[in-house]
C-alpha cells in the first residue's frame, strides 16, 4: 500500500536531520537527542527492507529490536558521561569543553 521508496525517503530525511543536529547543536543532551533521531531513521530503514524485500526472513525486525536495545543502553551511558562532565566543567556546552586543544 505504501510505496517502499516513500518510506525510504522519509528515513533518509530523518537521518540527514539527525546529522545536522549532531553537528550544529551546542548542548550535549541535544546532540544525544539528534543521535536518537538518527537511530530511529535507521530503524525505519531496516524494517522497511525487512517487510518489503525479504518476505520469508525475520532478521530485519530482530535487528531493529537490537538497535533499539543498544540505543537505549548507549543513551543511558552517554547521559552519565554528560553528568560527569557537567560536574567537572560546570557546563553542558560542548563548545566549551576543549581541553584537548593544542
Amino acid at each position: 500500500m505504501i510505496p517502499l521508496q516513500q518510506v525510504l525517503v522519509l528515513s533518509a530525511l530523518l537521518f540527514s536531520l539527525g546529522v545536522y543536529g549532531v553537528l550544529a547543536r551546542r548542548n550535549a543532551v541535544l546532540i544525544l537527542m539528534s543521535v536518537e533521531l538518527m537511530l530511529n531513521a535507521v530503524n525505519i530503514n531496516f524494517i522497511a527492507f525487512a517487510v518489503y524485500l525479504a518476505p520469508d526472513k525475520v532478521v530485519g525486525l530482530v535487528f531493529a529490536i537490537f538497535v533499539i536495545v543498544v540505543a537505549a543502553a548507549e543513551a543511558g551511558l552517554a547521559l552519565a558521561i554528560i553528568l560527569r562532565v557537567y560536574r567537572n566543567e560546570r557546563t553542558a556546552n560542548v563548545d566549551e569543553v576543549d581541553l584537548l586543544k593544542w
Binding site: 545536522y20 553537528l23 550544529a24 543532551v29
Partner: protein, 232 residues
Amino acid sequence: MEVLFGVFAALAFIAALRLVYATNSVQTTLAPLIVLLLVGLLFVILSHEFTDTISALHAPQVVFYMVGGLALAGGMGVVFANDLVHAALFLIMTLLMTAGVFVLVSAEFLGLVQILLYGGAVSILIIFALMLTRARETQALRLNGPQWPFALVTGGGLGAVLILMVARVDTWKGLTDTTYKTINDIGNALFDTYALPFEIASLVLIVALVGAIVIARAEETPELPAGQAEQR
C-alpha cells in the same frame, strides 16, 4: 510520482518550519499540524488537476503522509528549536510517529516496542538529564553552534545522495506489498537463531547499567570550586 510528491512535501516542511522555529513561542508546537492541514487542503483543491494521481491515493497512503510529516516536523523541532525542553518534546513526538510508521508497514510489534522503550524510557532519561544539568537555567541564547552552515551542507548533501540513490533503484519502484510478521516468528527467531545476539544484548545492557552508575557516581571529595572552570 509519489516520490516526487513526498520530496516536495518534505521540502515545504523544511522551509516553512525553519522560518517558524526561529522564535520561541508556544504556538510552534501546533504550527506543523496547521501547515499539514493547509497543505492537505491545497492538495484537495488542486486535485481536479491530478485526478489520476488522486484516485490512486488511498487511506494508508494519506495517513502515512501525515504521520511521516509529523515525524519530520518533530525531527526539525529537535534540531531547530531554541528551547531545550521544547526540543525534548519534539523528540518524543518523532519517536511516537516513528512507531506509527512501523504499524503502517505491518510491523506492529516493533511499533509497540518503540513506544515502550523510546517513548517510555529514553524520553524520561533525557528529560532527567536536562534537569540534572540545569539546562534551562544556563542555556545560551542560540542553541545552534557556530558551525551550522557546514552542518547544513553536510546533512543536506547526505540527504540528497541518499534520496537520489533510492530513486535510482529500479527494483524498488512501485513496490507496495508488505509481509506481516507475527510475534511468534519474532520470538522464535530471538530464542532460536539469534539467541547469541540476544544474550549479548542483555550483556550490553548490564555493562551499560554498571558503567552508567560508576561514571555518574558522586565523588567523595567536595565539588571543585568555580575557579577550576575558568582555568583554561
